[in-house]
């Protein structure tokens, strides 16, 4: 498989701020690749570097082998779905979708036919004559998607496209986006701050932090073998133990993480387990599970997540009471110092 997008030691600095700091990565053709990170981590800047809205301060960006640094956006074979859709308010939906074809000089009937096809693809066939302002957020999102796909880009860039949608709609769009990507077979580069979204859709995820990449891996690897404390904490929830705490609890030099769902009340586990006494601070009922906040060694608050159906009886329900936590030794995820 060929490489769709390649970053080689790319940096983007604004005065003293290093928005993107010496990043190298490769995105394979046909891959669903997510850039995940908190706001200000450099993920959106990286996407904009691929689109051409930003120029790198240093380094090289190749799109299908061609050097892209210095090329304006209109000369790149990538298209973007914008965070707030960026639909042209003075055009109807059909003309929005046909915009790229119009610029290429495709005759009106032909470009409208192809735009109609794209609207069918995103299930908005009836909406061509409407103004974007007459559509709901989810529909605008689909128009933006159709518009970006009309030019049949080899790489589609998506900048937090689902951020403004409500939860149900977002989940539905995640499924549709993923199946659309499989159907079209083009490379998706997807920027999000929502780890659940990145995990559920992506072939691989790059976790960004402070302008750098902490780890690039498949979702399962990110979750089960996080390279750093940041990844462990950002991808799923994690209890990170470092320094003297790691030494006291497990006799380790190295920091480690334990997922909340791997922790149990001490009575439920046997074998090679680590046990920690603590005090129950709070219980949060979350439906299928409950989260228990437990203070251990008088300083660290540890989260434990228990399924509700069979463990409500076993767990102490009195806030402020003593509780001993335990986890299997193999549940500890070693992190880079």
């Amino acid at each position: 498989m060929s490489i769709a997008v390649q970053f080689h030691q790319v940096s983007r600095h604004y005065d003293s701020v290093r928005a993107v700091d010496d990043i190298s990565l490769e995105i394979a053709e046909g891959e669903f690749f997510s850039m995940l990170g908190p706001s200000g981590s450099g993920k959106t800047t990286s996407l904009r570097l691929i689109a051409g809205f930003e120029q790198p301060t240093s380094g090289s960006i190749r799109i299908f082998g061609q050097e892209a640094a210095g090329l304006p956006p209109n000369l790149r074979a990538v298209n973007t779905v914008f965070q707030d859709y960026a639909l042209f308010p003075h055009m109807n939906v059909l003309d929005n979708v046909a915009y790229g074809l119009m610029l290429k000089g495709v005759p009106k009937s032909e470009r409208h036919r192809r735009a109609e096809e794209m609207l069918e693809l995103v299930k908005l066939g009836q909406y061509g004559s409407r103004r974007p302002s007459a559509l709901s957020g989810g529909q605008r999102q689909r128009v933006a998607l159709a518009r970006a796909l009309t030019l049949q880009p080899r790489v589609l860039l998506l900048d937090e496209p689902l951020g403004a949608l409500d939860l149900k709609l977002r989940e539905q769009m995640q499924t549709e986006l993923k199946s659309l990507q499989r159907q079209l077979g083009i490379t998706f580069v997807f920027v999000t701050h929502d780890q659940g979204e990145a995990m559920s859709m992506s072939d691989r995820v790059a976790v960004f932090n402070k302008g750098r990449i902490e780890q690039v891996a498949a979702p399962q690897v990110l979750y089960n073998q996080p390279a750093t404390a940041f990844v462990a904490d950002f991808v799923g929830a994690a209890n990170v133990f470092d320094g003297p705490l790691a030494a006291t609890l497990a006799g380790l030099e190295q920091p480690f993480a334990v997922r909340p769902e791997r922790i149990r009340p001490a009575g439920q586990l046997d074998g090679d387990v680590v046990r920690v006494p603590g005090k129950l601070l709070d219980i949060q009922y979350l439906g299928a599970v409950s989260r228990y906040e437990v203070e251990v060694l008088g300083e660290k608050v540890v989260s434990m997540v228990l399924p509700n159906e069979h463990d409500t009886q076993a767990a102490p329900a009195v806030i402020g009471s003593a509780i001993t936590l335990a986890w299997q030794r193999q549940a500890m995820l070693p992190l880079a110092g």
Partner: protein, 317 residues
């Protein structure tokens, strides 16, 4: 467990006079709106709409050429008079000048406003705002007279032309029928330059406000879909900022249509609508004809706006 308690606020505190007044207004939104709008609305109805209606009525009154008196007999004679060649020339001359000034203002204002919105940051932005507004703080009459000095035969503009070796070009320009004259001060070109100078800020500000409302990501979306700078300008920026150009051109257009000072001081002889109104109501006392002349710009602007609307200039609003 905690035993300390927070002080409890009584459910219904005793209200003071002002608070009770506030509650009364809160419960009657209509009264609130009435108090807010009453005075300005009255002012608007009487002073703006009222005077406009009076003007319209005046234009149908009869003026007696012999007694020089106005009677309330309704007639269309004033409007017929507008169509007489001498008067129609005045309308046409004013209209041409107003169109040329509006067009030139738009062409000059657009890049400047674009720079102010998209590129100028920090002190530069402030500088440009002040620089655009500053000439409006100075007296209009002073500025116009200053231009007579600048445009005079031995003035700065001629001096600059001579030193650039363009004296011949200037002489040739002055021989052209629609532009020329004895010198810049008495030419249509000079008058056009002064009009454009005076009204330019009225174009820059609305265009700048319109451009300010064009989200930057639309420009990025356009270029992302393959547009070069010119295509983005034509298909995105211009349509979205066009209401601003229309708003600005209403200012430049109507201000030129109504002006009677610049045509008196700069340019060749020949009256403008403004100077015609001034003469008619002042020395002659023919109020009805003056009113009829005044209705002309109102009608022209109304037609212009209707046309602009039909062309979709306000679709983006």
């Amino acid at each position: 467990m905690m035993t300390a308690s927070l002080p409890v606020t009584p459910a219904a505190p005793a209200l003071g006079l002002w608070q009770r007044l506030g509650v009364a207004l809160y419960r009657r939104p209509g009264l609130q709106l009435g108090l807010l709008l009453g005075l300005p609305l009255l002012w608007f109805l009487v002073v703006y709409i009222g005077s406009l209606a009076t003007l319209l009525a005046q234009s149908f009154f009869t003026f007696d050429d012999f007694t020089m008196e106005v009677s309330r007999e309704l007639t269309l004679a004033n409007y017929r008079q507008l169509l007489q060649p001498a008067n129609f020339d005045v309308v046409l001359r004013t209209l041409l000048m107003a169109s040329a000034v509006s067009l030139a203002s738009a062409v000059l204002a657009f890049p400047l406003a674009y720079y102010m919105v998209r590129y100028a940051r920090g002190w530069k932005k402030g500088f440009f705002y002040v620089a655009v507004m500053l000439p409006m703080w100075a007296s209009y009459i002073v500025k116009v007279y200053a231009w007579t000095v600048l445009l005079a035969k031995d003035g700065m503009v001629y001096w600059a032309y001579q030193h650039l070796g363009l004296g011949g070009v200037m002489d040739w320009l002055m021989t052209l029928p629609l532009l020329g004259g004895n010198s810049l001060t008495t030419s249509h070109l000079g008058r056009f330059a002064v009009f454009t100078y005076i009204w330019l800020p009225f174009m820059i500000l609305p265009v700048q406000a319109a451009l300010e409302r064009v989200p930057a990501n639309l420009l990025q979306a356009s270029s992302d879909l393959g547009a070069n700078g010119a295509q983005t300008f034509r298909h995105v920026i211009l349509p979205l900022a066009f209401p601003g150009v229309v708003a600005g051109s209403i200012f430049t257009f109507s201000l030129t249509l109504g002006d009677y000072i610049i045509p008196q001081i700069i340019g060749p002889s020949g009256l403008f609508i403004g100077s015609m109104v001034y003469t008619m109501q002042g020395s002659i006392g023919n109020m009805p004809l003056a009113a009829a002349f005044t209705v002309v710009p109102v009608v022209i602007i109304a037609l212009y706006l209707t046309g602009a609307r039909k062309l979709g200039a306000f679709d983006a609003l």
